[in-house]
Amino acid sequence: MKTVPALLILTVAVALFAHSFIFDPLLSSRTGIDFVHDNALSARRYLPESMGPGVAILDFDNDGHMDLYFTNSGPSDFFKPLRPLRNALYRNNGNGTFTDVTLKAGVIGRDFGIGVSTCDYNRDGWTDLFVTNYGVNVLYRNNRDGTFTDVTKQAGLDAPGLHTVAIWFDYDRNGTDDVFVGHFVKYNKSLERGCQYNGIPHYCYPLSYDPWPSRLYRNNGDGTFTDVSEQSGIGRHMGKVFGAVATDINGDDRLDLFVANDSVPNFLFLNQGRTFTEIGFDAGVAYSADGAARSGMGVDAADYDGDGREDLFVANFNRERFSIYRNRGDLTFSDEAGPTGIGTATQMYSGWGAKFFDFDHDSDLDLIVANGHPDDRIEEISSTLKHREPVLLFENTGGRFVTREVVAKDYPARGLAVGDLDNDGLPDIVIANNGESPVVLRNRGAANYWMGLDLKGPATGARITWSARRNRRSRLKTSGGSYLSAHDPRELIGLGKASKLDWLEVRWPAPLSRTDRFENVAAGRYYSFRPGGKLE
């Protein structure tokens, strides 16, 4: 009799243990990442409280280990912090722990922090930081000694607003990265709508606010930027920008810009050289199939079906289903949310940070999305919706995406960045949560070969092509994507069962426009190289 319960317990224990998640959440006590986002939560529920934070994975000190940067709220016209708040930069110690070096580095931020992007705007080989704010953004120039200098004003990037994303890409192909600065709605404290349900304040749906144009700044190559919003055409479109990604939708080697708007149509800016034409309506990515503007938030671009064309992804609001737009090759897209299974799987969620990546190195691109309902009081008015939502991982199974369990907990997620924090060749995840600590998810492993590539130089827009076991594949180095966040700049390439690449080619973007080719490249390590250089 005694053995029966024991067996039962054993069986249950084995079943529980066998339920394995793909990622392990790392505790802050283990990593040393003690940052907690303060969302400035007020009784009134001011809109910017629900927007942040973002996270960047970057190597600011060029030591080969990926560091982390988080944005935090700060003083604004609706929020006076009772204690000083600051953004946070964590240096990766290379042993699984991180050290907060924010003060020493001089990157505490200013105003109400929202998002972060990384760049090398002065092409000195050191990663600079750009923080988007409700207020004035901040461009931090890397001093190459572990510190940064705020050069926003002298750079000419000090226009105020309610900013979200910043996308660094060389739109005019002159060799320097320009920047698109996404703007959300027209906003200040007096424009807050003060929405209520049964007399209780809730965050307003963005439809309640007026749209506002975003800006494009051309890099002058001397540390300054020129606002080219009007002449480029970008500034003529009123939007409510949450996410954006620079990619090449028509294979003309010019980087186009896909912009997700909330409650107004998405934009697809086709790069014509020095100007952009907005083709979202004709391309079929502006509205739902019924002609409704959805709540576009997180985005990404990649060739998920391996046909050589860049496809698009948009994370929307609950009930809207997320969009996965397959590029038809004629400047139009079809939303494949239904056939791929993405639509049904995302119907209950509000998606933010997102990224196509190959989590298991089986050589096709999977998709991860961080979710969270923006209304922290949603459960008071709905038993169907939750404030905290699961992280969704969609495994690409060739035509359909199958949902895989990432981690046991749900989060009020916003920013998401993908990167290899321990240089083991496996992509890890960092999720920045609204009003809470971030979560670092360590990839538990994959039984496939991989290769990492760190392109030194003007990499955005580079086309990486390789062959493994005679299977030819290709990837475009895009810029931006996700939500308020920046990924590890290195490219991880899954090789499946191939232990080496037959060959590897990198076609650098204009004005270089050169191709470097390497034969018989061994798997299982990172390589870096410059245009015309050797694999190192």
């Binding site: 079929g284 509205y287 019924d290 002609g291 409704a292 056939p339 791929t340 038993s383 169907t384």
Partner: protein
């Protein structure tokens, strides 16, 4: 005042309710509401008055009042299929699909021949991203309606839309074709068939079906949706003027709530 109160009590709750119901049918909503209040003053637990009170409150977007009325009616009459259905229907309209499941399921079991409970249960499961359960219930709804000789275009439309969102175009076409068979002047049917033809690349047929939808009557599909379809279809056909005309109408129409 005292006399009025005594007169009110002298009339039964049922009589007040009958009067309220008649006024409701005549769209005299204020008077209907007053009669309902009178009925409930006489008998606060009079279930027909509570359900009608809920319906009236929903019509006036007072979901807080409606919720209280329906929840009370449901508690007082757990064996009333109608009270259970109305509570489930209310939760469905309020987008609280999880809560809608139990009362709709109860209503379905209490009155199996009533297809409405199965239909709203299907739509609630659809709202909860459980398409397999929804499909089974749509099929049940259609079976009930067929057995009763009352096939409903609305049911086939809803089912077809689910199949379309799942990428099951051929099955969706069957449903929409049935819609048009049942109601040759169905705006929803023609529009949905037009959408599918657009996705399949037959833009000329999409234009034909869109034009039919535009002239047909119906509350489900808006002019804006049809102009959106027609603008894109004409654009694909290279007919820029027609495309621009429909684009203009699309942009000037009130935004659709359907996503």
């Amino acid at each position: 005042m005292r006399l009025a109160f005594l007169l009110l009590l002298a009339t039964s709750a049922a009589e007040h309710y009958r009067r309220a119901s008649a006024l409701f049918d005549q769209q005299k909503f204020d008077e209907s509401n007053q009669a309902l209040d009178a009925a409930l003053a006489v008998d606060p637990g009079y279930v027909p008055a509570l359900t009608l009170k809920g319906r009236l409150a929903m019509a006036f977007n007072r979901f807080d009042v409606a919720r209280l009325a329906f929840e009370r009616a449901s508690r007082l009459a757990p064996d009333s299929a109608y009270a259970q259905f109305m509570l489930g229907f209310f939760y469905y309209v309020d987008n609280d699909f999880m809560k809608a499941l139990a009362p709709l399921d109860r209503a379905r079991k209490l009155d199996p021949p009533d297809s409405r409970s199965a239909l709203y249960l299907a739509m609630s499961y659809e709202g909860l991203a459980q398409p397999d359960k929804a499909i089974g219930l749509y099929e049940q709804t259609i079976e009930i309606e067929t057995q009763r000789g009352k096939p409903s275009p609305e049911t086939h439309t809803a089912y077809g839309r689910l199949l379309f969102t799942l990428g099951r175009q051929d099955e969706a076409v069957s449903q929409f074709a049935r819609v048009v068979e049942l109601d040759p002047n169905s705006r929803d049917g023609h529009y949905e068939l037009g959408r599918i033809e657009f996705e399949r690349g037959d833009y000329a047929e999409a234009v034909v079906l869109g034009a039919k939808a535009l002239t047909a009557k119906g509350l489900g599909t808006t002019d804006r949706q049809i102009h959106f379809l027609l603008s894109r279809a004409y654009s694909k056909l290279g007919k820029k003027d027609q495309a621009a005309a429909h684009l203009k109408k699309f942009q000037s129409s009130p935004a659709t709530l359907r996503r």
